[in-house]
């Protein structure tokens, strides 16, 4: 009996087997690809070529606006996508850097959350606010008043620590929050060092504690900043939002009188901008979140009244204080709900052609043409095609009068049974 050995199979040699030299000649331990299938299963799954992992992004619509010298408004949608799947319908894209400077973020969720959280923690530590929670001294006490309808409101007054030492404390308090310049510089430096790998587009807006004015900045993933913008929109739906902002902010009735914009009008502009992004961009959706930051400067008084310090310091209408308010409205516009299926109307129409109803296919409605199966085609139309040359059908063949004349001209007798003469000129 002959044993057939298939030499094409490369058998893994045993360790104690003496192999000929030319077995090792052109093999090396670095040749991963030359191994047979059995040993390539030893490769880790990560070493095999794989598609890049789907990152959870906030393909989003974010917008920011400054109203006069009093308000700064940031708005965002709340959809986080992972490829074509919606990973989170209630994502929070408005991140708090300090109680009065917020950042709206677009890009990769992880990068945004990490960068903003890192920034917030760094400046809490660097400006001494962390001490209040650990030790005895320092720290800023600010009232957090829960609101019934919206989120939390943080009201910072400068009179929370002490009454007599109000002026000195005011300077200390307002300077212990980081300025907008410091925050933006820190963020830009982090992003520049990652050379664009950290995909974070930020709109940083709020009340700068040093100047007590609303400010708006946009920061891009490579670390560049735009600081002279009165309004901004970023994200995949940012172009749609920018169209709404440009049209209503600059070309509308506020073109020559920007100071006439009220808070309600500004909020409606922002909501419409985010709505435009939600409607026209697949990466944006769900609800709209808002944060409104407001600074109220003290009313100007003549000098003589400054010496009389009032004792009711907790009053919000105190003349000497600058009040900065943060109003975070989560779900300012909730996600619209679809009506149940039974209430949706369906269109069913039928055409009244002679051939029967031509109803739509897959809900597309009616087609202007009608498709009919071949078996229903009129028999008269079959003259176009040559019939097979079968004996019983030859008698039923329709005689083309032109064909007989042509055949007479050409000298071909019509009595022949070949089918080559049946090609008529009418066949096109």
């Amino acid at each position: 009996m002959r044993i057939l050995v298939d030499d094409s199979l490369s058998v893994e040699p045993n360790s104690d087997e003496q192999l000929p030299y030319d077995y090792y000649k052109d093999r090396s331990s670095h040749d991963v690809e030359n191994n047979n299938v059995a040993s390539s299963s030893l490769l880790r799954p990560t070493m095999l070529p794989q598609p890049p992992p789907r990152v959870r992004r906030t393909g989003t619509t974010i917008a920011g606006l400054i109203v006069g010298t009093e308000y700064c408004i940031l708005a965002a949608d709340s959809r986080a996508t992972m490829g074509t799947t919606v990973a989170d319908t209630r994502a929070e894209k408005l991140h708090r850097l300090t109680p009065h400077i917020w950042a709206a973020g677009a890009g990769t969720s992880a990068d945004l959350q990490h960068v903003t959280q890192h920034c917030c923690s760094h400046f809490r530590w660097a400006s001494g606010q962390q001490d209040g929670t650990i030790g005895n001294s320092g720290g800023i006490l600010y009232h957090i008043l829960p609101r019934e309808d919206h989120g939390k409101t943080t009201t910072m007054t400068t009179t929370t620590i002490g009454r007599r030492r109000r002026r000195r404390q005011r300077q200390r308090q307002s300077s212990s929050f980081p300025s907008m310049t410091a925050l933006c510089h820190w963020l830009r430096e982090q992003l520049y060092q990652s050379q664009g790998e950290c995909q974070a587009n930020l709109i940083v807006g709020g009340i700068c504690p040093k100047t007590c004015q609303p400010m708006l900045r946009t920061i891009h993933p490579h670390g560049s900043m735009d600081h002279l913008v009165p309004f901004a929109a970023l994200g995949s739906g940012g172009m749609a939002a920018m169209a709404v902002l440009e049209q209503s902010f600059l070309l509308g009735r506020f073109k020559d009188k920007p100071e006439e914009m009220t808070l309600e009008e500004a909020i409606s502009i922002m909501i419409r901008a985010i709505q435009a992004g939600i409607e026209n961009d697949l990466g944006s959706g769900s609800q709209i979140d808002l944060v409104i930051l407001r600074v109220q400067k003290p009313k100007k008084k003549n000098k003589s009244s400054r010496d009389h310090e009032h004792d009711n310091d907790d009053d919000d209408n105190n003349d000497d204080t600058t009040i900065i308010t943060t109003d975070y409205r989560r779900a300012a516009v909730p996600e619209p709900e679809l009506p149940p299926l039974a209430h949706r109307t369906t269109t069913t129409t039928t055409t009244t052609t002679s051939s029967g109803s031509g109803s739509g296919v897959n809900g597309f409605g009616n087609t202007p043409f009608v498709l009919r199966p071949v078996s229903l085609v009129d028999k008269n139309q079959e003259r176009r095609r040559p019939l097979p040359n079968l004996p019983q059908q030859e008698q039923q063949r329709w005689h083309d009068p032109e064909e007989e004349e042509w055949n007479k001209l050409l000298g071909i007798s019509t009595k022949s049974t070949t089918t080559t003469t049946t090609t008529t000129t009418t066949e096109s």
């Binding site: 992003l191 490579h222 560049s224 900043m225 735009d226």
Partner: protein, 220 residues
């Protein structure tokens, strides 16, 4: 939205560029620097009101063109070094020093940066001077300078109209006219025009909105 196809070949994907028009013209009583206001990322204008004339020192300004992030970082480094230098030496830095610090940083990071800069201003040693540092980090002292992607369209105009001793008004008018012509033909430049007049005593900024350009569409 953020793809860079037709822009500078060295820009990374999604990077914001100030592909621009910047220029500096010395006149009898001051140096006038001008720039457009457009910051673009691919075909989308990210910011149409930007300020590309950064102040490095009291009387030294620089005009930026190239990658926005690189240039903002660069100007901050140079500003820092100039401040340190002025503290150590006890006097204002010269324009030559500022230009060469900028050149040094650009040259040492040549592979990683995409930056073309014009440094100009006044100092008590040389008076008014203009230095140009194109991509590649040469440092050239020039009688006048134009730079950026839009500058290629106005070389002839500026060459023919520039005179060494112009008045401030003539210089400003030349700067605005040249930048307006560049903005009309270059896609990466546009918006409005910002100028600054640098003198020993003051820096006088000026802003020309987009519907009042000396040349170009003014229908809106």
């Amino acid at each position: 939205m953020y793809s860079n196809d037709g822009d500078y070949p060295g820009l990374k994907d999604g990077e914001v560029s100030t592909g621009t028009t910047i220029m500096a013209i010395p006149t009898k009583d001051g140096v006038i620097m001008g720039a457009d206001c457009r910051v673009s990322s691919g075909i989308y204008v990210v910011n149409r009101t930007s300020d590309k004339l950064s102040q490095l020192s009291e009387h030294i300004f620089c005009g930026r063109s190239g990658s926005a992030a690189d240039l903002q970082a660069l100007t901050e480094y140079v500003r820092f070094y100039l401040q340190q230098l002025s503290v150590e030496t006890g006097r204002e830095p010269t324009v030559k020093t500022a230009a060469h610090i900028m050149r040094r940083i650009c040259y040492d990071n040549k592979e990683r940066l995409l930056a073309g800069v014009i440094v100009s201003g006044w100092d008590s040693v040389d008076g008014y001077s203009v230095y140009q540092i194109p991509i590649g980090a040469t440092c050239l002292k020039v009688p006048f300078a134009i730079s950026g992607s839009g500058s290629t369209y106005i070389w002839g105009l500026v060459d023919s109209q520039f005179r060494p001793d112009m008045t401030v008004d003539e210089g400003r008018a030349l700067v605005k006219k040249s930048i307006a012509h560049a903005m009309a033909r270059d896609g990466s430049s546009g918006g409005s025009i910002r100028t600054v007049l640098i003198t020993p005593t003051s820096n006088d900024r000026d802003y020309t909105p987009g519907n009042q350009l000396p040349f170009g569409p003014t229908g809106f």
